[in-house]
């Protein structure tokens, strides 16, 4: 399913003395099967942006096209549920949304709300649990008896069991330790690769954006500052650094080497292996 934002603006608390502009003039397309990373500082508007993707909020100007549906400012929308089933959002610290007595019930909660029969939902729950790397034994446990990392996985399984067409992830690894972080990110990437899941990742981590995404959208002060492939984005790292944004470690080191060694790299390196190879090549070329 395709999602498109056209000239979207959103103001909080419209028509009150507390009105504030969160995002403006946002134009983004998310094509089926793509992996898009949205990057920006806290307060750059990326959280507001992501809530438009499944009509949790309605633009105060412009329009959002989600599959067949168009959400426009000033128009009453009914029947938003189908949109929410197709576009699943995993919010930051999703374990805070758990509430049922058992893990199974909690995972089934979403699907049942969307009208999936109980039996079918239970099958989906088992499948989702496997996807997030948890054993079936915990189905009967209370979600509140699990460790923090397990709770996170259960919450994610609850979203996967809805079988959305687009998966939106808001800092899905915040607060996890390095191993947990890598496992979760790899799991989503596998889902994207194997099942062609359209994925939108909202993150602070340039590393993750560079490693996983086909397209990066940089949000700055409420609007899209730049968008393109990781290669395009990171071939001008100075610009990003001026905004106070990080660049991937590899790109930063590359930049330092360019300055110190007085050499030029042909392309931005997004992995350590690539960078090591390039450094070797550049140095050998220089010595000749």
């Amino acid at each position: 399913m395709r999602i498109e934002l056209q000239d979207v603006e959103y103001r909080y608390q419209m028509n009150t003395p507390f009105e504030s502009l969160a995002i403006h003039d946002v134009n983004i397309e998310i094509n089926p099967g793509s992996y898009v990373a949205i990057i920006g500082h806290t307060g750059s508007g990326k959280s507001t942006l992501l809530q438009h993707l499944n009509a949790l909020i309605k633009p105060t100007k412009g329009r959002v096209i989600i599959g067949e549906r168009t959400i426009e400012s000033g128009r009453k929308e009914k029947q938003l549920r189908p949109i929410r089933q197709k576009v699943g959002i995993v919010f930051q610290f999703p374990e805070h949304q758990l509430f049922e007595e058992t893990v199974e019930k909690d995972i089934c909660f979403g699907p049942v709300n969307f009208g999936i029969p109980k039996e079918e939902a239970k099958i989906r729950a088992r499948k989702a649990l496997k996807q997030v790397g948890l054993a079936e034994e915990i189905l009967e446990k209370s979600p509140f008896d699990l460790s923090g990392g397990q709770m996170r996985r259960v919450a994610i399984a609850g979203m996967l069991a809805m079988q959305p067409e687009v998966l939106v992830l808001d800092e899905p690894t915040a607060g996890l330790d390095p191993r947990g972080r890598k496992e979760i990110m790899d799991m989503f990437y596998q889902l994207h690769k194997e099942q062609g899941m359209t994925t939108v990742l909202v993150t602070h981590s340039m590393e993750d954006a560079a490693r996983y995404a086909d397209e990066i959208v940089i949000m700055h002060q409420g609007t899209v500052y730049q968008k393109g492939t990781p290669f395009e984005i990171f071939s001008q790292p100075e610009q990003l650094m001026e905004l106070g944004l990080d660049v991937p470690d590899t790109v930063r080191v590359q930049l330092k080497l360019q300055k110190e060694l007085g050499v030029r790299f042909d392309h931005p390196c997004l992995s350590i292996e690539d960078l090591a190879l390039e450094v070797k090549r550049v140095m050998e070329r220089g010595s000749r």
């Binding site: 923090g148 330790d177 390095p178 981590s205 080191v253 110190e260 960078l275 070797k280």
Partner: protein, 279 residues
């Protein structure tokens, strides 16, 4: 190394209803003026160590000595004056309704006189560069700002040691940098000895010493150089290695003749420059 500030001797602790000791026969010392990083994956016992050091939990066996006072229920309130703590969640440790009230909270508890309190609150907030926010309410502050207020709250009590219990793990990169920068300044001014409990290995790389915890046991201790030699072992423990160490390794694998290990990018870039000039 300087004088011993804290010593742990064979400290063991178990949570009720758990089979395994959360902390198992752990001994180490903390020296005045150092930055000690305690790393380990979730559940390795590193946070329990923090609670033991502050008397929020008491060891089942073994002893903890802070400034020559052995920690016990009788001495815990004195020990807390020496050891300040910053916790993980910025929201759940902000007690006051405004920034200055929160910093004053610890001073009020100790019964400090009003005039003195006003001075210490002001000084502490100056030190963490939050003096412009005296009357700000917590929900108008960023995570990094809240943690800096928490640090000011610790500073106001003039302790010897600050423990950061995963104090940066819920922050965005900017907030994390703010907090670490503040703590580093305080350490460099010799105001505090820092014990940082973390799983951020980039942060640990800048510490003076690292302790690696695993399954409640002290797995290794040493300088960052020594610890990051372990490379693969660390990854197996669920930890990461700093980027410069990883890159150094990859470069050596490409056949570049680099010295063993680099804890910072600066060192690595410098070495590469030298290497280049020799080629």
């Amino acid at each position: 190394m300087g004088e011993k500030l804290v010593s742990l001797n064979d400290v063991t602790f178990k949570y009720e209803g758990q089979d395994r000791n959360a902390v198992d026969c752990v001994s180490f010392d903390v020296y005045k003026g150092e930055w000690l990083a305690i790393v380990g994956h979730n559940g390795s016992g590193k946070s329990t160590l923090a609670k033991l050091l502050n008397g929020l939990q008491f060891a089942e066996s073994g002893s903890i000595t802070i400034n020559d006072i052995e920690l016990s229920e009788a001495t815990v309130w004195d020990a807390r004056k020496k050891v300040g703590m910053v916790f993980q969640n910025p929201d759940n440790q902000f007690v006051g309704t405004t920034v200055q009230d929160d910093v004053a909270f610890g001073l009020e508890n100790l019964g400090v006189q009003h005039q003195m309190m006003v001075e210490r609150v002001q000084n502490a907030l100056n030190k963490v560069q939050m003096d412009q926010f005296l009357n700000q309410e917590p929900h108008h502050l960023s995570g990094g700002q809240k943690q800096r207020v928490a640090i000011a709250g610790v500073l106001a009590l003039q302790p010897d040691i600050i423990i950061l219990d995963e104090a940066t793990s819920m922050l965005d990169p900017r907030g994390r940098e703010e907090v670490l920068h503040t703590v580093r300044e305080l350490k460099d001014e010799n105001i505090l000895t820092v014990i940082s409990i973390t799983h951020d290995l980039e942060e640990a790389a800048k510490a003076d010493r690292i302790i690696v915890m695993n399954q409640g046991l002290l797995y290794r201790q040493g300088t960052p150089d020594e610890i990051f030699q372990l490379e693969g072992e660390l990854v197996e423990l669920g930890l990461d290695i700093p980027f410069s160490v990883k890159l150094g390794k990859a470069l050596r694998e490409q056949g570049l003749n680099l010295a063993d290990s680099h804890l910072t990018e600066e060192e690595l870039v410098k070495d590469l420059c030298e290497l280049n000039s020799r080629m």
